[in-house]
Subunit: 145 residues, 2 copies
Amino acid sequence: MAAEEDPGREAWMLLIQLFRSQRREMAAMQTELGLNLAQAHLLKAIEAPQGNPMSEIAEALFCDASYVTGLVDKLEERGLVQRLPSPDDRRVKLVALTEAGRTARANFMCRLSQPPPFIESMSVEDKRALCDIFAKAAQALQDNG
Amino acid sequence: MAAEEDPGREAWMLLIQLFRSQRREMAAMQTELGLNLAQAHLLKAIEAPQGNPMSEIAEALFCDASYVTGLVDKLEERGLVQRLPSPDDRRVKLVALTEAGRTARANFMCRLSQPPPFIESMSVEDKRALCDIFAKAAQALQDNG
DNA sequence: TATTGTTATACTCTATAACTATA
DNA sequence: TATAGTTATAGAGTATAACAATA
């Protein structure tokens, strides 16, 4: 089936293209924040006040645990997170936000969520529709693992 | 303004997350095809039968011309494209599909456009809505440069 | 023996700067 | 002098494999 006949295929192809068109702006923003997307996502993924295990974070980030080590190293150097021992299992390390991290996170998220022109210029109805559809999809993703 | 109050911001954050969730599958697909996203996009960007200039392709791919050199090198080695001299300007090289390239492109596009589960599992109404909204956005992108 | 996190390492994607040929 | 494409190179993002500590 050709992409033009299947709305799922066509939507996916368009999405890839739209996303790709933002590569440079995304890179510039990451430089500006001194934070790459993975690190931003990591900050967002820390939900428990006492911190989350590295392995849990790797899963939330859809990446390998070995990569998380490096990400946490850099965030720890900047004083945004800290590694804490888990009371339950001495192998596990919990990654928790510091006070500075909590403050910084809000600012990062504000900058990061600034939508690119291809979204910004949509009608508010389209933005809402997009938002609803994506929210459902993200929920399904979380439910199905 | 927080992301939860602005559908544009929220849609963008969800989109980043959904896209990110497909990183591994996308990588696997690229390995399977022996083609990265940039190369696939390049193949798609060749529209004129006599080929398109490298600089034009770089623009279509949102990347630097120096990177296009390498992409074309690899595609040429595989016999999918060829560099042709431009009749107008001896500095310019036109990148054209070979016969094999034309055949291969259709197959690549078929595989590439296979939507990920987060799209596949949507209702057909949502897929159509997504498709319409993205098509408008892509059109605007093309119009505004 | 299995699992958590780390280290060492290597590979891919991509840009920047310097260069060649042509305009 | 300016432009199209190439080369050399460097940096970022990420995975794999081997390892140490703990379970």
